[in-house]
């Protein structure tokens, strides 16, 4: 039993199944499509002639995997290493305001819709993003805490090709023995 990190894709319609991909031990790529991949090249973000294009937003959330945990998980934090290593003209923004999932939208292969977030690299281990939510006695598959949405920004000075990777860290406190 353990806490997992999930990427949410697909429909958010009531009665239909959202796809939860466990990304705890892998990477996930932010492209101009609503899909998880570790190295997808089908729908990259189009470098704009001017202005800014965006990846589709990447919605992530914590969840519990395994037999019911006897205790509480709270004090959720989210942060980066504080240094943008994505390359010239490429940034990352973040929003966490709700535990309700909303599917990413945009123009496939070109740009996602701007989430108008905060510069993600402002959030570090000494200045983390506080994520609202907690869970007590989590059951198998139960998701908890607000959804954290991240989105790559790309301006005209960016270079073609895959960027370097960046590491996102979640921190939380638990009383599950």
């Amino acid at each position: 039993m353990a806490v997992k990190i999930y990427r949410l894709t697909g429909t958010a319609n009531e009665g239909e199944a959202t796809t939860y991909t466990d990304i705890t031990s892998i990477n996930t790529r932010l492209n101009a499509e609503d899909a998880h991949s570790t190295a997808g090249e089908t729908n990259p973000i189009l470098i704009p002639a001017e202005g800014t294009n965006y990846s589709y937003k990447c919605s992530t959330q914590l969840g519990w995997d395994g037999t019911t945990g006897d205790g509480t998980i709270n004090n959720l934090k989210w942060y980066t290493d504080g240094a943008n290593g994505l390359g010239t003209g490429v940034g990352l923004q973040v929003v966490s305001s709700s535990d309700t999932y909303v599917q990413a939208t945009g123009t496939v292969g070109t740009s996602g819709v701007n989430i108008d977030g905060t510069h993600a690299f402002n959030y570090t281990s000494t200045s983390p993003l506080s994520v609202t939510g907690s869970v007590t006695d989590p059951t198998d598959g139960e998701k908890f805490g607000n959804i954290v949405e991240i989105q790559t920004t790309v301006d005209s000075t960016a270079s073609a090709g895959a960027t370097n990777s960046e590491t996102i860290t979640w921190r939380y406190d638990s009383t599950i023995a």
Partner: protein, 127 residues
Amino acid sequence: MNTITPIVIYNDGEERRLGKQADGSTLKYENIDRSRVSAFCLEKDGQVILKLYLEEGQRLIWRKREYQPVGGDIKTIHLLGWQKKVGGENLQAICYVFEDGHIEMAGRFRENHPVFDKIELLPSECE
């Protein structure tokens, strides 16, 4: 690090491991009888690595603080200590048990410190 087991010791000498009990029941940290707690220890591979004795008025605090990078290995720090209200001020003394076995001790929580950051108190920890 998951091999660390928290154990509560009551003032009549009874020792109870947190989690699943032999009879199938569960002892949660939230449900320990705080009026009877005299000590709390962390055991790793059958050996006590930290034992905390509580004095009157000191309220037990224990947490697992976990750091999970996406695509990386989880790190766990156990927090064990106490807090006490003195003259309207909350004082704390917390030990931080790291995965490599070393232990650091600090006083009051330090907001946004990567290790010594404050916890969110549970109802059972409040006066």
